[in-house]
Amino acid sequence: MIEIDALTKVYGAAQVRAVDEVSLHVGTGTVFGFLGPNGAGKTTTIKMLAGLLTPTSGQVRLGGFDVARQRSAAMAQFGAVLEGSRNVYWSLSAWQNLMYFGRLKGLRKARVAERAQDLLTDLGLWERRHDKVGGFSRGMQQKVAIAAALIADPPIVLLDEPTLGLDVEATRTVKNWIAEQARELGTTILLTTHQLDVAQELCDRVAVMRQGRLVADLPTRELLARFRERDRYEIRLEGAAPPGFDAVTREGVTTINVRVSDPREVYDVVERLRAQGAVLESLTQVQPDLEDVFLALVSEPSHA
């Protein structure tokens, strides 16, 4: 479990509040999406969570241990892959990296070897375990970094942009693996990403930061539901657009977006289309995705 209470970081003489009274509680086995535009305060929050940065005020507890006062116990609960850095030694092999990071976490050599074998096999790297990580593809390097973060089987894992720069196949592997870690092993995963489709697919809960403050912290479904636009419908027709409608036709399919004040008005629109001989292919209420929600949240004052 991750508990963040009234976490604040103020920088310099100008008293810039990079993080302002942020509170979050992330339950065990949750994949938690921590989102925000650049400069929102995500990285600062993550660094305080990882014990790399001292908060001006507030508290972070990992698995019940205060990061500031019980650092050693808190770090034993935690593994991280940080964005923008290699995280592992490129001049060492995947095996050597895992052995080092496992022992650094205080595990005995035999235990680390056992765990490293499982992780490398799961990630499809076992055959290349003795190759230097520097010679790996970006996706393979990222897999080694993730394995290093998980080598001591920590109950809490921070993954900062884990799929950034990965190809489709590697992204799929990493996503499946994150889901499996949380659902089957009960690992709490804090995921930060700008790839909102990844966040939407993986996260049980999402928080959005803007200008150092949380502007949303809700289960993903609930967050999406709050932004559902009850008055917008998408009508798809076979063939060309009928006259009198604002429509887009592409590859033989016409799409019409209609906005109504009462859902019953949709019947009238459909009736008008039928009268003009249009062939209805589908009629759906427009559902926002996480990108729509995110853009709405970061461009307006707090919503949740």
Partner: protein, 254 residues
């Protein structure tokens, strides 16, 4: 704790040995530099009366120079690559991986110093008497050099100018610690100034036991040993304070 230390040393050795060319070049330079230097200073000949004492000093210099180089280069690279931050997100206290790095650096420093001393000994037939009394001064010389390496490493955590500072100090050490001429041939004021630098007092203590047959008691009453201890403690204290201050700043900027 031992597991962490062993892991850190093992990792450090593997990382360093993954790129052996730099080490081989340093070994070649270290073996050639001393004899070349003494040949020039002796105006075309190797002066046997000066060789033993200066050889001990050049060994001290190489230990300091190479341990410092390995330590600082390793830290800068780890900070850049993000592995420094990773190593700090562990249950181990922050100083423990640092100690492991220091011990790794000392292995490389010792290897270069040993080769830098042994090759001239064989080539120029330099005899160095071995005495048990020299063991403690030798160990203290090493600890003194490592305390300075720790200080450099603590500065390297935050200072972009560390390369220039390191070059400046190691050059001064080479010039003044007795690698060119024994310390007793310096003017008093220069010998006093040289003793402020790392390794000089350790070399003085070591040469007094090896070549003058002094006992540890004589070293203590003569003042060399207390000064060496005080110098080492002062270096360690300053380095420790700098580490405590800069470690946090290094993580914040990582």
């Amino acid at each position: 704790m031992h597991e962490v230390l062993r892991a850190e040393i093992g990792k450090g050795l593997r990382v360093q040995l993954a790129h052996p060319v730099g080490h081989v070049i340093t070994l070649l330079i270290s073996t050639m530099m001393y004899l070349g230097l003494q040949f020039v200073l002796g105006q075309g000949e190797l002066r046997q009366d000066l060789l033993p004492q200066t050889l001990v000093a050049i060994g001290g210099y190489w230990f300091l120079q190479y341990a410092g180089l390995v330590m600082v280069a390793d830290l800068i690279e780890e900070k850049r690559a993000g592995t420094f931050a990773q190593s700090q997100m562990s249950p181990a206290p922050p100083w423990l991986p640092m100690l492991g790095r220091l011990l790794t650096a000392s292995i490389f420093g010792l290897a270069v110093a040993a080769v830098a001393a042994l090759v001239p000994m064989l080539v120029a037939q330099i005899a160095i008497p071995l005495r048990w009394a020299a063991l403690l001064p030798a160990v203290l010389l090493g600890v003194n050099a490592l305390a300075f390496t720790f200080l450099l490493a603590s500065l390297a955590l935050v200072s972009p100018m560390i390369g220039a500072l390191q070059s400046l100090f190691t050059s001064l050490v080479l010039l003044l610690n007795g690698s060119f001429l024994p310390l007793e041939l310096y003017p008093d004021w220069l010998a006093t100034a040289a003793r402020v630098l790392p390794t000089t007092l350790g070399i003085e203590a070591l040469t007094q036991t090896l070549f003058e047959g002094r006992t540890l008691t004589q070293l203590w009453t003569g003042g060399v040993l207390p000064w060496l201890l005080a110098h080492t403690l002062a270096l360690t204290a300053v380095a420790g304070l700098l580490f405590a201050r800069n470690h946090r700043r290094a993580l914040e900027s990582s």
